[in-house]
């Protein structure tokens, strides 16, 4: 009758590809050479997009922009594991997910230029609008999973968010509901260790974010978020589990925000340059490159050719974006409700 052990829990860490480009063969997902190239090319596309977005912003052609530099493995690795019918609920820093899923590149630019038409996901993709209010989209994924289950669809709902989002009430309420109903949902946290100027240890006293899943009765795992194979593997497993009725999974991708929070931020004000430098060495793209070199999948020429190809894609997207005429003022009235109220109609007429 004295103090008894009631329950015990473990949190695991998954990594497959180390910083020198070596993989753990037992854990390495079965990927063809073509697939590995596709992963690499998606990461390069994400980075090229990001670099261009930053330069467009500096030129005043985009508004405030949140860079994804350093998070490409987390985004690409997870997105590649998804099925086209899955529903994706992004935060505002997942352009790598969009790009990997084939979201029109110019629409991403369009959104960050301040035009909501960038959020019109193509019919074949179920990607929700960006969620700027941190963490508040997590319950939407839960609801989509409820709907999918209700309709008997094999769809999984996937929510992406950052470490800061784990402090929000909606994170908790959504996770708890997902646990209660054992829903087909996968929660992917890019723990980039900063929420603007707040470092992880001031965000939570928990030593990992993954352990937060214990509170909800489902699995949480920490993954090396700069290791695209580990992220891919963990996401693939979580999706399979979700599809087979095994309920939700929380995947914490430990990564790092290499750049400023947004173009309106100056990270040098609050974080040590040595920390940034240390993480630069763990660049997810370089790491994959090292592996590919060892496997003979990467060469200077290939690198050059890819760069050219990717730049062309981005150039074209910028052109496409800039060719779109600004929205008409009257469009403001279009989608507040399905139809205009008499008052709205009057206001439209007075424009």
């Amino acid at each position: 009758m004295p103090e008894e052990l009631l329950a015990s829990f473990e949190v695991k860490h998954l990594s497959v590809l180390d910083e020198n480009g070596n993989v753990d063969d037992l854990l390495m997902p079965p990927l063809s050479e073509t697939e590995i190239r596709r992963i690499y090319e998606s990461m390069v596309l994400a980075r090229t997009f990001d670099e261009r977005a930053l330069s467009l912003q500096r030129e005043g052609r985009l508004g405030t922009y949140p860079p994804i530099l350093g998070q490409e493995a987390s985004q690409v690795g997870s997105a590649l594991a998804l099925s086209p019918a899955d529903w994706v609920f992004p935060s505002f820093r997942e352009m790598g997910v969009h790009l990997t899923l084939g979201y029109p590149v110019h629409q991403l630019f369009q959104y960050w230029a301040g035009d909501e038409r960038g959020q019109i996901a193509p019919a074949k993709l179920n990607i929700f609008p960006f969620c700027v209010s941190v963490g508040t989209h997590i319950p939407h994924a839960v609801g989509a999973a409820m709907a999918a289950r209700y309709l008997g669809d094999p769809t999984v709902a996937v929510a992406y968010f950052g470490d800061g989002a784990t402090s929000k009430g909606d994170f908790h309420e959504g996770f708890n509901m997902a646990g209660v109903f054992r829903l087909p949902v996968v929660f992917i946290c890019q723990n980039n260790q900063w929420a603007i100027s707040i470092p992880l240890k001031e965000q939570t006293a928990a030593v990992t974010l993954a352990q937060k899943a214990i509170a909800y009765g489902f699995d949480g795992v920490r993954v090396d978020g700069n290791d695209v194979f580990a992220v891919y593997r963990a996401t693939t497993e979580a999706l399979a589990k979700a599809r087979s009725g095994g309920g939700p999974t929380f995947i914490e991708c430990l990564t790092y925000r290499m750049a400023d929070h947004t173009t309106a931020d100056d990270a040098a004000r609050y974080r040590p340059p040595e920390e940034v430098a240390a993480w630069r060495a763990r660049d997810p793209i370089l790491r994959l490159e090292r592996y590919m070199v060892k496997r003979g999948l990467w060469s200077e020429e290939y690198g050059q050719e890819l760069k050219k190809r990717t730049t062309a894609v981005i150039d074209e997207a910028v052109r496409a974006m800039e060719a779109i005429p600004s929205p008409e003022v009257a469009e403001m009235f279009d989608h507040t409700c399905a139809t205009l109220s008499p008052r709205q109609a009057g206001q439209l007429k007075e424009l």
């Binding site: 609920f89 909501e116 019109i120 996901a121 209010s133 319950p139 609801g143 509901m177 279009d334 409700c337």
Partner: protein, 320 residues
Amino acid sequence: MAQLNMVQAINLALSQEMERDKRIVILGEDVGRDGGVFRVTEGLRERFGAGRLIDTPLSESALIGAAIGMAAYGLLPVAEIQFMGFIYPALDQLFTHAARLRARSRGRFTCPLVVRTPYGGGIKAPELHEESSEALFCHMPGIKVVVPSGPYTAKGLLLAALRDSNPVLFLEPTRLYRLIREEVPEDDYTIPLGRARLAREGQDVTVVAWGSMLERVIKAAAPYDAEVIDLLTLNPCDMETVLASVKKTGRAIIVHEAVKSAGFGAEIAATIAEEAILHLRAPVLRVTAPDVTMPMSKLLDSYLPTLEQIRKALDEVMTY
């Protein structure tokens, strides 16, 4: 046709529409096994199964948030908030997401969601159980706000809300739940959202009210040749009917339970001041709760607009 109270009328609307449209699911705290704390969803779980009457954990924000996700996915969720005083934690979901999803995605996603909640005072309940904060939600473009005033309007408006492709906040005046019985057709009928109802015709003064105040206004106005407008939908508001009446009578009074400052009465008075000024023969009066924190039950009757206060306002505009 049966004589039903409002609880029964709402229950009937829900069950008929659930029968008709398999996309409708109900979710909320205690809506399933318990049939709702006011028994509005009584019997529905037995009839439609636990998959369509979902008891949720105690989380208003996730409950509305999940309903948004369901709606976007293609269902027609009906979320119950147990009392309006507990909708505030979900206000972010309603304002940031439900109200804006269509516009933000330029129509790519919609949010055909109905949020039902008991609302208003006069039931001698604990703190936060008698709120009437409808004005907050009328300031959120993209959400419709509907308030029935009796069993008949409850059924017809709820059916219309369930078939509307926009998010609708459906406020059920708790005091009326079992107070009034009316003929409520078994048949399918809808009352269009955005249209007021002339509850009584009159020549001398227009009184605008909604929800449980309507009943009180009708009583108070008996000795007057008053035109009484039952707003039914607050957002979008049928100002045309209000203005037409005021132009006829030249006098206007608005009665609501909520505190005066920045209440929805202000919007109506302001619209009159903007569009019917030349027709006014008297000040536009508002009879409302005073601008104080809602007291507990001992004082609640003195807080809510009384028959006497409405009469006093009527006298004032008539003798102005």
